[in-house]
């Protein structure tokens, strides 16, 4: 049925989903696309771009899940992405997904989509929940008043989804756009006057709807005018008209022109809402509010949060360690099998030690990462994530961080990779970037074996305290770094804390599985590219020139270590530790086995043997502590670097993170070693 294609476009249809966060947009997207999804980034920004194929359509249509936003101003990257996609005709039809139980506020976005002149259909989602709470919505009347098709849906059960899709196809075919709503006489007159002055600019109004452009100019947004605007007398006239009208609006309303427009939008919304919706009599305290009296309790709120996190970690390590061991055993067997197939030599070593050993060493974390993600998806879908941000905002605020940065930071104690990927829940790009940059300072589980070995060998019974001090040092440094970066690297006004607490609801298994699979897939993609490349390079450095002791004195790695020796000498370290730290770039647990090789024990050494050597040999408690501090701070691992690169969408920030962490690690280790020597501790 090729007739479904929009006029002027060949082949398949593109439909965009727009909606508020928590409107059930993602469930609807999952319903429409099943597992045919692709997650990427919008060009130039760190906003996630989700796209999928809809199998209701023939030929399959593309569905683009626009970022969930409350409005379509130029305020945030999310909003700009969503607005520009609609504005530039990226979609043949736009489905506005609204929460039927919170219609009035959700309509604010719909009204702005109407301003943008989008071919629009509205999905009145979560109808069952709204009905259950006593809302009576007259769908026909709502469609009449808004002048667009409205379909009642329940995306989690799949009700109404087929009808919604048919309607969207029809809207795309007909290119039908709803007529604008009246915003009150004063605003409408001002908008019309500006729109008339724009009529002399057909090239502009041909590209953008003139009413939307007029509103933009009226509220002072001139970013959509061509760069030649200074020289063009017609544009100057339109601008003068806009400014005069804005001043007039300010005079009559006593507030800004934008406030008048916002007021006009809500006036139109409330007119529609009151006619089409009957609210329940007792809308005061919902079941969600009652739950909040428990979860946000003045005394019990934080302990409940901490208990939830404890359960998260237990799940991650208990449940996750079993499949991790299977993966590890599988990699070892695969390595042995491949080694048996090939003659001994560089190629066999590349396959076994470089590729299988290197990637396998990172892959064993996959089960833990997946479980952490499943837990986060659960927290997010249930609505608890926003409560955690609320509870921790005051503490995080002191670190110049947003309340929502708390969960990623805590996850960092498990594994930095999912923690960095979890920063997506932060709306502001600056907050997100800041959180990404400091998350590596959280001691992940892979760093613990290094601490355990060294602290156990060098500090004996006080090892526990020493390890604790490293965790605390990480958090303390994160607080300092966050404040410094907020002031000097990412300056600007602090983002005010404004956060919706969505109603609690039961997460669906499907939603969690889809989310977890998406994230696990991203991790696997990284493992097969960046991590593979890094592993091969490290293998080459340790195995060549061919025939030397692997990672020993005469290997390239050893030679580089010797070059680096003067750099680490002020930290009380030798070339051996430099090589071990180099290998820690790939993954931290390699540090221990590398030390075994470097201290002449071979790569089959048990940690106990290595510990005995350390206790009597090269490292003193002071230089050992400096070494652990260095291990704490410098780059967590290749996978984390890959995650930073992906989440910031730039190599620049990934390299910045590597650079600042290395520098900070060196300075901290230097201060500790030299300070300790001054105090005659070492």
């Amino acid at each position: 049925m090729g007739a479904h294609a929009a006029p002027g476009k060949q082949g398949s249809l593109t439909v965009a989903l727009a909606g508020n966060p928590n409107s059930g947009k993602t469930s609807l997207f999952n319903r429409l696309t099943g597992s045919h999804q692709h997650v990427g980034n919008w060009p130039g920004v760190t906003v996630e771009r989700k796209e999928g194929l809809c199998y209701f359509a023939e030929p399959p249509a593309t569905v683009v899940d626009l970022p969930g936003t409350y409005s379509l101003t130029a305020n945030s990257a999310d909003e700009r992405v969503a607005r520009d996609f609609v504005l530039h005709g990226g979609a043949d039809a736009v489905i506005a997904v609204v929460d039927a139980g919170n219609l009035e506020r959700n309509l604010y976005l719909v009204v702005q989509l109407i301003e943008l002149g989008a071919p629009l259909v509205m999905a009145l989602n979560m109808c069952d929940l709204a009905e259950g709470r006593g809302f009576a919505i007259n769908v026909t009347q709502l469609a009449d008043l808004l002048d667009l098709p409205v379909v009642a849906t329940c995306a989690t059960r799949g009700d109404g989804v087929a009808e919604l899709w048919e309607t969207a196809e029809r809207v795309a075919r007909e290119g039908r756009r709803p007529r604008p709503l009246p915003y009150g006489r004063q605003v409408d007159e001002a908008v019309e006057s500006v729109a008339r002055s724009l009529e002399a600019l057909p090239e502009l109004t041909g590209e953008h709807p003139s009413r939307w452009l007029a509103i933009s100019l009226l509220i002072g947004d001139e970013s959509h005018l061509p760069p030649s605007k200074e020289a063009d007398p017609v544009i100057q006239h339109a601008l003068a008209t806009a400014r005069a009208n804005a001043r007039h609006l300010e005079d009559v309303t006593g507030d800004t022109a934008e406030a008048a427009v916002i007021h006009g939008r809500y006036g139109a919304i409330s007119g529609v809402y009151r006619e089409a919706v009957v609210e329940p009599d007792d809308a005061h305290l919902t079941p969600s509010d009652r739950l909040d009296h428990v979860f946000l309790h003045r005394i019990w709120g934080v302990p409940i949060l901490l208990a939830a996190l404890a359960v998260m970690f237990q799940l991650t390590f208990w449940v996750g360690s079993l499949p991790s061991r299977w993966l590890e055993a599988g990699c070892t067997r695969l390595g042995g099998y491949v080694a048996g197939l090939m003659p001994r030599g560089p190629l066999e070593s590349l396959m076994v030690d470089g590729i299988i050993g290197g990637v396998g060493g990172v892959l064993v974390f996959l089960p833990q990462i997946a479980i952490l993600f499943a837990v986060v998806a659960f927290l997010e879908d249930s609505g608890y994530m926003a409560r955690a941000a609320f509870l921790m905002d005051r503490v995080m605020h002191r670190m110049s961080l947003h309340g929502k940065a708390f969960i990623p930071m805590i996850m960092g104690f498990g594994c930095n990779v999912p923690a960095i990927m979890a920063t997506r829940t932060l709306e502001s790009e600056r907050d997100r970037l800041l959180t990404v940059l400091i998350t590596p300072l959280m001691t992940c589980s892979a760093r613990l074996p290094v601490y355990a070995l060294l602290a156990g060998a060098l500090f004996g019974p006080r090892a526990g305290l020493v390890i604790l001090s490293l965790y605390v040092l990480g958090v303390g440094l994160a607080a300092i770094v966050a404040r410094v970066f907020r002031r000097h690297v990412l300056p600007g006004e602090e983002e005010p804390f404004v956060l919706e607490l969505p109603p609690y609801h039961r997460p669906t298994l499907k939603g969690i599985v889809v989310h977890t699979w998406e994230r696990a897939k991203l991790f696997l993609q990284k493992a097969s590219t960046v991590i593979l490349a890094g592993s091969v390079i490290m293998w080459f450095l340790s195995a060549f020139p061919w025939g030397v002791q692997v990672a020993g004195e005469h290997s390239y790695a050893g030679q580089i270590g010797k070059l680096l020796a003067p750099l680490v000498a002020p930290l009380g370290l030798s070339w051996r530790e430099a090589v071990a730290l180099m290998f820690g770039f790939v993954a931290k647990e390699i540090v221990v086995s590398t030390m075994g090789v470097l201290y002449g024990l071979g790569d089959q050494a048990q940690p106990g043997d290595i510990g005995r050597i350390i206790a009597h040999g090269p490292l003193t408690p002071l230089s050992g502590y400096a070494f652990m501090v260095f291990t704490l701070i410098y780059t967590p691992c290749l996978a984390a670097i890959a995650a930073i690169r992906r989440e910031t969408n730039s190599w620049k920030w990934a390299l910045f993170a590597v650079g600042y962490l290395l520098l900070l690690a060196w300075i901290a280790a230097f201060v500790i070693y030299q300070g300790g020597r001054l105090l005659r501790l070492g």
Binding site: E104, R105, E258, H284, D289, A389, D393, P496, V498, L499
Partner: protein
Amino acid sequence: MTTLDALTPGQRAVVASLPHGAGIRRRLAGMGLTVGSEVGSLISRGRGPIVVAVGQTRLALGRGVACHVGVELVEEPSGCPRCAR
């Protein structure tokens, strides 16, 4: 006339003025908080963010924002909404 952060849980009020700054006003407008909207205080405890009800939306606001939202108290005809069934 008082400010949003000064409301005690159970009190209802109508928003009379918003913080300065187009950015924060746009964000609040998107979440349903604008001049004339009716708000009810749900959680407020001396320090830390507060929670208010705006229509069906539950909104957590930092004190830095809330103290710049001017509100007019609404007289409750029959006690506070928390006691109402």
